[in-house]
């Protein structure tokens, strides 16, 4: 065994030194390389998970706001229809009122015109009667004058 150790140069000093070397490498790599890289992987995994969560939340919020927008549009449509139908009713009422008013005014104008025409005709008749009476008196005077002569 001693000869084997001698041929291969096995020495406990060197064994210990190489074991310590590996121990130093292990600790240094753990501290400077593995720990930060694994922490970075963990952090990135967290960021990705948060990103996915945020995206899901954003999609949820989007679908909720879509629904809200749709309900608001529907409500606005209904309100607009109500406003239009109310305006239509109001316009119809106004039209009817204006028509009635116009008709009444036209009727009043017609009545006024008729009254004025009637009055003018009566006045004409009265004037004609006075003229006829005057002419009859003149004619009677002429006849009487002729008889006297």
């Amino acid at each position: 065994m001693q000869q084997l150790f001698s041929v291969f140069g096995i020495d406990w000093h060197l064994l210990l030194a190489q074991a310590v070397n590996f121990g130093i490498v292990l600790i240094a790599l753990w501290y400077f390389l593995y720990k930060p890289v694994l922490a970075m992987l963990e952090r990135r995994r967290g960021i990705v998970a948060k990103g996915v969560e945020d995206a899901a939340r954003a999609a949820d919020a989007l679908s909720r706001s879509d629904g809200e927008a749709l309900s608001r549009i529907t409500a606005a449509d209904e309100q607009a229809e109500d406003i239009i139908s109310a305006a239509r009713e109001s316009a119809t009422r106004e039209k009817t009122r204006l028509l009635k008013e116009a008709e009444a005014r036209a009727l009043a104008v017609a009545r006024d015109a008729e009254a004025r025409a009637n009055e003018a005709a009566a006045r004409q008749r009265r004037e004609s009667e006075q003229e006829i009476a005057r002419l009859a008196v003149l004619a009677a005077e002429k006849i009487l004058k002729k008889h006297h002569d």
Binding site: D11, L14, Q18, L29, F32, L33, L41
Partner: protein, 248 residues
Amino acid sequence: MHSGISVVLKAEQLGSVFGFPITNSLVMAWVAMAILIGFAYFFGRSLATIPGRLQAGIEWAFEGALAYMSEVLGSEVLARRFFPLVASIFLFIALINEIEFFPGVGSLGLIRASEFLPILRAPTTDLNFTLALAMIAFFTIEVTGIVMLGFFKYALKYVNLTSTVGFAVGLIELVSNLGRLVSFSFRLFGNIFAGEVLVLVAGYFVPYFLPAPLMGFEMFIGLVQALVFAMLTLFFIKLAIIAPDEAH
């Protein structure tokens, strides 16, 4: 000093500090450590939420490794607990096996007593390094098994007195478990050392054409061996945490 192929099984000693030998494989381990720790330090400081190509690639590799480990161990918590060990084994061995073929490794050296001593030698071609890693993996596996199952339940895997066959199987398990130390260390050492010798021999006999493709192949083998060491550690941890009554 002699010319020709020089194959030395053990790492060459460059000097000593307070009785501790300093070998060329130890020096190269420090170089690899400096590169790895330096990279980790600067990379860890430059992490950004929106990653660049390098960061994205490393994060992808980490996530893939963690997912695979979770699948093998059946638990994300266990995967996260053992990820640093398995990943460090892979990165350290892979880096050493790759820089082994960089200029200067094995070619820069000192002349001492008319002998050439390379300053840098891949630690994976030094049994001290592979055995140290094997021991760390072995103790981690055993301690994990004891902590997860409890000492007596874990011991039941190896000492089974319910039947003769059970006892024999337990004994075989115990021997094969101890054999992991040898198989772990010699597999890595043998593969990388043999690759280095192969490149050396090819460089000696066919110096103009063969070494470069062989080096490329050996770099690939280096990655595979790093992966094998890390994967076997993972699988043995999995085997260690399986209760004896669930094992078959």
